[in-house]
Symmetry: C2
């Protein structure tokens, strides 16, 4: 078999014979000739042949084949080139009727979420859906590239753990030989420990698990968290500074490399210069004053997050907003309190187009203060010895954050349900496929 | 506080005043003056001051501090520069006696594995131990960079699954709301499905879980698998070709960027030109003829792997060896059989310095053949519908592999136990820290 040419490289091969390979996307008869669109991982190409050839080889939609032919420029063809077929080798045929239509854009848009997820492999073959995870891969790579360039070390921390990060609620249990273990809700404790182990700056891209009962468009029970943690900081603003730079880096890269994907979703991705930082207390005043919405205990519900983003867009022309200084009662035990008013903390969320995508903050690094914090919440410090002990041997001021990969992906493309941005989502009712 | 200078950048600041920050590695009095070695994430630096300053600030080993002073070249000092201290700001003090010695190289080498792992944060502060995971991060990044450059898409597949990859054994169970689920042994099914979803070439860096009872120096119950899977291949040799290129890429990069780490472990990393490919049947004949070792049913035990690597080193001057064409009985159900003799398969392992680090092969892509394969092993195809169904709608020939990140790390550095190459290892007896 001849060396395979990728469809994206047809433009470098005008008037040459090439062999391409992929899935048959569509077949259209026009009198004696037939147009076949072939789809590979890099794009789609129009091939032209006689109808009898299609019949002879019994070619249907989603047949996998190698196709050989001469490339010629044709402005009417997708991608601007057409292949006049001289040879076909079928390598795999559909043996069942397709349960969903792969190639119909209009129909695809109407596809119910459940049908789409039940037929995940086929629904991902649709080019519009397929690119979601090419964008996601670009986000992952941007996160890694950016942080490595800023002196961070990538780490892989355990997901099977002996006790929860925040005290035992919302944990999945694992039968671990003769004892009970849990699935990690976040790499929180471990990334802090690794700051203290001398790495100072660490990041992780890994799964986290939340046994939350609620089944909303914003929640997954297994998702990918983009985490970093850094030592020798002044306060939580250092953490936000790094995230701000990352967002700028990411958005620039997406605009540069993946603008066709944004176009497919009718999205633009304006690159912020700065991301405003607004104490949550002030956000609550604004919500009350501007929208007549009263929030309990200085925290925002999903509607509040949407409204404050609306406000910020009008006020600052920004789609991104840091909310800062959350009340201690709403944040985990290890969150650093404000000196001036310890009922509030050095913490923040990042909202993007109405949705919280990041939670972060400065952490307590003083051994005694951390012990007291655990006790004040009636948590048994013995369960967390392996973590708290880290702070007894010299620990720099530090902080970090976790960003939901699927949420970030969904917000960039304007997807309505975070499940669309999870390749095989896990929720209350779904562990298949 | 002045802007912090990293210790690696002292050489760019001769005769300037800088502020560095880190952990006190050691303190050595010499008459009225005292030498303090400070350690940050980039290296160690010698600082000199009067003994009274150390006493005044109550500075001990592992105290975290900011230190300001003038940089001067001094060939006797570690790194070639010394800082004459003019200011010290302590930011965190050890409040308990160190349970292990962090800075004693001789003692460190004697540290029992269990003690080392029980005191993981402190044992990782020792620079010799610390660099293991800097190498590991470089392996991860090399894998990703190499595969992205070869048209692979990074994916994140679920670890909570409804049924095992290889039929239900050795799986950890998870209590998933009102039903039982499992932790994925490998991303095998999902990466194949994503080849079929049109990505053609995918890779994943993620945790996998093996509920194996045995507690050896080569096994972990949670480890990181470097996986890839690629479509439109001729046969399993295409998969090995890619791994060969990856190994060359990785070894070159480690030699270029991390040769000081190799030196610390007295290791060299010769870059192979080619990696020999030896059918396992022949390997067994060689073992019998050369070493009088008889292997049962064409499979190698750990001693056999060591011996065949010894032989390959003598024969081909190689530390890497592909063993190929494993018997079908020793490989998973989805492995592609050889046409000529279906008792053997298009599969391979990669051995490196006596240890298997990779398992891979071509997979069955024909729907009927796969169904038959499941049935011939008395597996209920209904449990695997979500996977097998993928093959009913056009699937290219494909294959892939999984490499154990910790094993690869350990073999590069000559570590005797794979646990040393897992940042927080999980085994039969350990889920802490």
């Amino acid at each position: 078999m001849d060396e395979r040419t990728l469809i994206k490289d047809l433009k470098s091969n005008p008037d040459k014979e090439v062999t391409i390979a992929g899935w048959v996307h569509s077949i259209r008869k026009q009198g004696k000739i037939t147009f076949v669109i072939l789809r590979d991982r890099t794009g789609m190409a129009q091939m032209v042949t006689e109808g009898s050839e299609i019949k002879k080889h019994d070619i249907r939609n989603e047949t996998v084949l190698y196709a050989t032919g001469m490339v010629s420029a044709d402005y009417r063809a997708i991608g601007g080139f057409e292949i006049k077929l001289s040879g076909i080798e079928v390598i795999s045929r559909p043996v069942k009727t397709l349960p969903i239509i792969v190639n119909d854009k209009a129909d695809f848009q109407k596809l119910e979420l459940e049908t789409m997820l039940n037929n995940r492999v086929l629904s991902l073959r649709n080019p519009v859906r397929n690119v979601i995870f090419k964008l996601q891969a670009e986000i992952i790579d941007s996160f890694r590239t950016f942080l490595r360039d800023h002196g961070f070390t990538e780490v892989c921390t355990p997901k099977i753990i002996a006790s929860g990060t925040e005290g035992g609620t919302q944990l999945f249990t694992v039968d671990y030989f003769d004892r009970l273990a849990y699935l990690a809700q976040s790499p929180q404790f471990y990334k802090q420990m690794l700051v203290g182990a001398g790495y100072e700056r660490v990041f992780e891209i890994g799964h986290v698990y939340r046994a939350e009962e609620h089944n909303t468009s914003r929640h997954l029970n297994e998702y990918v968290s983009l985490d970093y943690e850094m030592g020798f900081i002044e306060n939580e603003h250092d953490i936000m500074d790094v995230e701000e730079l990352f967002i700028i880096f990411l958005f620039n890269r997406v605009n540069e490399n993946l603008s066709p994907i944004l176009e497919q979703y009718n999205q633009t991705l304006p690159v912020p210069k700065k991301i405003p930082r607004l104490p949550v207390k002030e956000a609550c005043s604004i919500l009350e004053k501007e929208y007549g919405k009263k929030m309990r205990s200085y925290d925002l519900d999903p509607e509040g997050e949407k409204l404050i983003c609306e406000w910020a867009k009008k006020q600052y022309s920004t789609e991104l907003l840091f909310l800062t200084e959350y009340p201690a009662s709403k944040r985990p035990v290890y969150t650093m309190p404000m000196e001036a008013n310890p009922d509030f903390t050095r913490s923040f969320d990042l909202l993007f187009r109405g949705l919280e995508i990041t939670t972060g903050g400065q952490r307590i690094h003083d051994y005694q203060m951390l012990n007291d914090a655990f006790k004040s919440r009636n948590l048994d410090t013995a369960d967390f010895d392996y973590y708290i002990d880290t702070f007894a041997y010299g620990m720099p001021p530090h902080g970090g954050l976790g960003t939901g990969l699927e949420r970030l992906t969904a917000q960039i493309l304007g997807l309505l349900n975070v499940r669309e941005a999870s390749i095989f989502p896990r929720d209350r009712g779904r562990i298949l496929p």
